[in-house]
């Protein structure tokens, strides 16, 4: 029920705001809901607010799992 997507922080601005890049689109958003965020982090964006940092390691783990499953299926 909540359209949200990952975007990368390209520049931190004052007053808990930041610029993000989503596939070439630039947008100014609020980081007020996050404790700590740095340039280069990926965040999940909803209605102009970053809800959380995206854990890139976990993302790679999940994708790795899919790759493993595909390999496993190919060899059976």
């Amino acid at each position: 029920m909540c359209l949200a997507m990952p975007a990368q922080i390209t520049k931190l601005l004052e007053s808990e705001r930041a610029l993000v890049n989503l596939g070439g689109i630039q947008k100014e958003i609020s980081t007020a809901l996050l404790e700590h965020v740095t340039e280069g982090d990926y965040v999940i964006l909803h209605v102009g607010y970053a809800l959380t940092r995206l854990d890139e390691q976990e993302a790679q783990k999940t994708l790795g799992l899919f790759a493993e499953m595909m390999q496993g299926a190919a060899t059976t």
Binding site: M1, C2, L3, P6, A32, L33, H46, V47, G48, L54
Partner: protein
């Protein structure tokens, strides 16, 4: 688009679909509810039903804040918009929802009301700052994902000493709604309590939902695909009580099609193993604790309503939020005299049963005949993530409605 496209990979989708088909026991029928309307949209937009085996059925849940908002609340929003010197700011989703008399905010705008679409609640604040002689009201809707920005902006409005900004708060809660849904499952068919034939369905009637359930019979759900972004805010622990109480596994799924397929696989594995717990598939964004800052903000500015009406589910206690009295200046319900209306639903509309997962859109007599996205008679057709709208737009070709 990083971290989006990788999770739409067709080869991985095939692999996951194959694994689901292998894990699903041929003799068993798996009834899984995706609670969140966004997941309903993902499922249909990517044609996922065509990838699932016939004995894995996705049942659409009530997690569509547009769909569950009662007509009476929409009427109040329209009343606000038509008040002199009021600017009503709303997310795009709500603009086309008809209230009583089939009038929507968009139609009120066409007749001269100052209704402005905003992408973020911040924009409503900016409009208030730029229009000191107008009253700016923000029409707040959404589950827990959308609530923290509303809470934050109310605090900002206080910091800025704004005297012309308020919020019409309709934020609703997820785990309570899940509990209510599962509670209704436990109600059995009782002939003596059938609803009167031919009487119009009234929203605002707490017994109506119970009667509908009795008529339709109970629905058996085997597990939940849990909401992605609500869970970022409230954490997976928020579901543990309801999971244990009703012995239903819940897997918190990411938003992309591979996430949903993966979660379905995880649910099937739990069901097969007779396990029942809350698992996180969306590990890249969801933690057990959630976003504490957001939770604190919400607790500071908002409090539980004793009861709130959900379209199709009736009155559910402690299922929605209102603005605390400390911030009463920013509460549109306290600032304005809003009319009490009793929205009347079309008597043949099955949205209630559909929202509860008891019926499919194609079971409704009105679906795709009289009730269409151009002429929505019920809430499930109005929002693009409503079960009926999603099936109408995406699913009419296959036998997956």
């Amino acid at each position: 688009m990083k971290y989006i496209e990788e999770f739409r990979n067709a080869d991985y989708a095939k692999t996951l679909a194959k694994a689901i088909a292998q894990q699903a026991h041929p003799g068993k029928h798996y009834r899984l509810m995706e609670f969140c309307g966004g997941h309903t949209h993902t499922i249909h937009r990517y044609g996922l039903p065509s990838l699932l085996p016939g004995n894995v059925e996705m049942i659409h849940g009530p997690g569509c804040p547009v769909c569950v908002l009662p007509i009476a609340r929409i009427d109040k929003a329209i009343a606000l918009a038509t008040m002199p010197d009021v600017i009503l700011c709303s997310y795009g989703d709500m603009l086309r929802v008809p209230g009583s008399g089939q009038q929507s905010l968009l139609q009120a705008k066409a007749r001269g009301a100052d209704v402005r679409m905003v992408y973020s609640v911040d924009d409503a604040l900016t409009i208030a700052e730029q229009n000191p002689n107008k009253e700016v009201v923000f029409f707040a809707i959404g589950f827990e994902t959308t609530t923290p920005p509303t809470a934050y902006v109310i605090k900002q409005a206080e910091k800025l000493h704004l005297t012309n900004f308020s919020v019409f708060c309709n934020h609703v809660l997820t785990p309570v709604a899940m509990d209510s849904l599962l509670q209704m499952q436990n109600v059995t068919t009782h002939p003596s309590s059938r609803a009167c034939e031919g009487s119009p369905k009234r929203s605002g009637d707490p017994s109506q939902a119970r009667d509908d359930v009795r008529e339709a019979g109970s629905v058996n759900l085997d597990g939940f695909v849990g909401p992605a972004h609500v869970s970022i805010v409230i954490g997976s622990q928020a579901y543990e009580t309801v999971s244990q109480k009703y012995n239903k596994p819940i897997v918190i799924a990411g938003f992309e099609p591979l996430d949903v397929l993966h979660s379905i696989l995880m649910l099937i594995e739990q069901i097969n193993d007779n396990r029942c717990c809350v698992e996180i598939q969306y590990t890249r964004a969801v933690t057990r604790e959630g976003n504490l800052r957001s939770q604190m903000l919400m607790a500071e500015v908002l409090e539980l309503r004793s009861s709130f009406e959900w379209r199709g589910l009736g009155f559910i206690p402690h299922s929605a939020l209102q603005i605390k009295s400390a911030f009463a200046n920013f509460d549109a319900e306290k600032r304005f005299n809003l009319p009490e209306t009793a929205g009347v639903e079309h008597k043949q509309c099955d949205c209630g049963a559909i929202l509860r997962g008891q019926k499919k859109p194609s079971d409704c007599k009105l679906f795709a005949k009289v009730c269409t996205p151009e002429n929505p008679l019920g809430s499930c057709m109005v929002s693009s993530e409503g079960a009926c709208a999603a099936v109408y737009a995406y699913g009419r070709a296959g036998a997956h409605a």
